[in-house]
Symmetry: C2
Subunit: 125 residues, 2 copies
DNA sequence: CTGTATCCAACGGGATACTG
DNA sequence: CAGTATCCCGTTGGATACAG
């Protein structure tokens, strides 16, 4: 069953749309941070603890990009010690639905993909 | 409205699921090739012509990865000159739905994101 | 607590030329 | 026609140390 009438959304402008999506979500930590922030407002340290393996550097960088793109709101409190809170904006929340669609696809198909990889490696050596 | 009960799909295993998705689709050409192949079986040259800007090298590499992952079937005909046909497998076709969900999100939200970027650049210089 | 700054290795991917 | 083979550059991101 072809969905060719719809894939023009992807191919329409020579891939610029696809590229635009991927430019926003296609780095190592973005989707993970967005998914984590779906539980509500969190502080820098909360995120750092809840996302295993992320460095301070990458957490900061990714949050800055998300803020710049209007997916995350950053609130600085003039306190000592400093407190900074991060929350998803409406746009940020709206990303979760398609992200979940993708995650569902992965959960359903990745095992088969892994098997295919093994078979391919066996064929080719 | 939080979808926190569902985002465990994304965060569940410390991000390995998300990473698994992105490892497959998060390069420059994969989604574009899959979307193009949704119209049916195509030859190497067909793809090369229908995907603006892709090099032979990247087309070959991406197709090989798609074949290895079982998303694309590659058929070689023993003819002169050579003929090779590429078709989406069932798994490959199944990727189009979530990809379209993402494309819809992009079409709807990217303009706002671009505006947010401009505003951010103005704020920060 | 919330970041910056610096260095560096790995990888993706473009350009170009060559081949069965 | 359908690729391979090189070269090479820019970006991503990890490790570590430092700072307001």
């Amino acid at each position: 069953m072809s969905q060719y009438e719809h894939t023009c959304m992807i191919r329409g402008d020579g891939g610029r749309t696809v590229r635009a999506i991927l430019d926003h979500i296609c780095n190592k930590w973005t989707l993970l941070i967005v998914a984590t922030l779906d539980q509500g407002t969190l502080r820098f340290t909360d995120l750092h603890q809840q996302i295993p393996g992320i460095s301070q550097r990458m957490l900061t960088l990714t949050l800055r990009n998300l803020e710049r793109d209007g997916l995350v709101a950053r609130t600085v409190f003039a306190e000592v010690p400093p407190r900074v809170e991060y929350t998803l904006t409406a746009t940020g929340k709206s990303l979760i639905q398609p992200a979940l669609a993708l995650a569902s696809w992965a959960i359903e198909h990745v095992p088969h993909i892994e098997a295919s990889r093994v078979a391919y490696a066996t064929r080719t050596g």
